[in-house]
Amino acid sequence: MKAEHKAKKAKLTLPAACLVLLTLYFITATALYFIAGDAFQYNNLGKPLLFGRYYFLIVAAFGLLLALYCMRLVHCSKAGARSLGLNAINAFVNYRFLLKQLVLRDFKAKYKRSVLGILWSFLNPLLTMIVQYIVFSMLFKSDIPNFVVYLLVGIVFFSFFSEATNMGLMSIVSNASLITKVYVPKYIFPVSRVLSSAINFMISMIPLFMAMLITRVKLSVSILLLPFGIICTIVFCIGMSLILSSAMVFFRDIQFLWNVISMLWMYATPIFYPESILPQHLMPLFKLNPLYHFIRFTRFIILNGASPEPKAYLLCMIAAFVPLAIGVFVFKKTQDKFVLNI
């Protein structure tokens, strides 16, 4: 009877989950090899790349590392020892129901009182795109081929970033009544806000696909690489939200500051202008912008119908996981003081 409401033991045991993970890893890696094709073999000058030649060696090496880590996790869980990875897995298993409920709530609450409801997720990028298309095709005589799709990719990615960080920013402060009354792991609030924005992000992909069909973009198998860019963007937004939400607890004017910064960020990202108008000597500065890499990656896949060079993958991963690591660090350092300041 006692504790019957405790999360039921996960149906998947840890060793089984590890096997599934490893299998998935190898399947994905192999699939990636065939989808990417020549992009991994030759650089844009046609010279052969070492990466392509040793691809499976690299994959196997990482697979081995992953397998070793899995073995360590299984060992830790058997010995009852604590480990960071194990804690994270446990937290996820215990709190995924709460996460699901919070994501649903944020998503429902957003459109609860509007007539068109969920349709707004779809209409919003479409209308923004139409307005911007009219403005920019008249103001700038842009020579970008397929400007509609080029623009729409930028808009969809940037509006996700802007929505997710703005919602994430308020996540701790607006759940103050909860945080001071019940124990819940606090990172769950920024994460749930970003994930509920991610649902919107997925819906706003529909107008993008429609634009691709209308403008007759050639669909190729490389479209399967899109999730990589999307996941990297979501990871980056989680990292940003962790930083912003904890800063917001201590300094309430961050929200006004963030409005200005995100506007600046929008103009610093090539959304409606071509990369070529950026001054060459400032390029290294623009390349520090994570969104630049995610958007460039996605545009390359859609407009060129091929995989970008291997370096683009690496840059996207760095641009996603470095901010996440900083976010996790900042959040962990400050979260015990949240209750005292909200």
């Binding site: 019957e4 709460l98 409920q101 009354k181 019940v182 124990y183 309430r252 209750v339 005292l340």
Partner: protein, 239 residues
């Protein structure tokens, strides 16, 4: 089982509360960042055995709520450690986390998830919760339209549907109308009597005498007295 070892809790009180980056920079430049220390709890240690009902009494500001928050994991103590065995259900305030725009049904799942219940458990207990709250007719209405009595009834039903190993109660024995008060009191008695470890804060000394085994008297953040309920309650009344 709850084991509290040498807990101290320090709050920093700022005289003019700085809440923005601008003010912070100005204060830092003027070197006027002054804090005042306030110890809400000092070296509190005690142990509650499995199945024991421990009462906590003391005047306002004695540190009772701070202690409950530390034990439920909401606050982290400045010094000391808390060990708890088993799942804790804190009933510090009912219905925290209700979303007014969602329906009663949606809120049962949201609030249940916040309290740490699993999805299967909530599904199996859903009818019981609705029945206990007497809200069958209104369950698909957004709770924005509920009366305050209906809200507390729903919150109470969700919070008490479990049989937790550790229950932390801050004065919420009676909610709703007379009939529901009787019902909720009976439910609380059932929870407290069923081998659950209970920490119970109240200003009602009679209730403490009726329900508890042992009592802690907190005064200005320190334990003034701990022991048998009658001894402590008598001493508290004489003070």
């Amino acid at each position: 089982m709850i084991k509290v070892e040498n807990i101290s809790m320090k709050f920093l009180i700022m005289h003019d509360r700085i809440r923005s980056l601008k003010e912070y920079t100005v204060a830092l430049l003027k070197r006027r960042l002054k804090y005042e220390e306030f110890w809400a709890l000092r070296n509190v240690s005690f142990e509650v055995r499995r199945g024991e009902v421990m009462g906590i009494i003391g005047r306002n500001g004695a540190g009772k709520s701070t202690l409950l928050k530390i034990i439920s994991g909401i606050l982290k103590p400045t010094e000391g450690k808390v060990k708890t065995g088993g799942n804790i259900v804190p009933m510090l305030e009912l219905g925290s986390g209700f979303d007014l725009d969602l329906t009663g049904r949606e809120n049962i799942f949201l609030n249940g998830a916040i309290l740490g219940y699993s999805e299967d458990f909530l599904k199996s207990k859903y009818d019981e919760i609705v029945e206990f709250a007497e809200l069958e007719k209104f369950i698909d209405v957004p709770i924005r339209n509920y009366s305050s009595g209906m809200l507390t009834r729903l919150a109470f039903s969700i919070a008490t549907v479990v049989n937790p190993e550790i229950l932390i109660v801050d004065e919420i024995l009676a909610v709703g109308d007379e009939a529901f008060q009787a019902k909720s009191k009976a439910r609380m008695m059932e929870l407290m009597g069923g081998g659950t470890t209970v920490l119970f804060v109240s200003h009602n000394i009679e209730q403490i005498r009726e329900l508890c085994n042992r009592v802690i008297w907190l005064d200005e953040g320190r334990i003034k007295m701990i022991g048998d309920k009658n001894e402590v309650c008598d001493a508290y009344k004489l003070r």
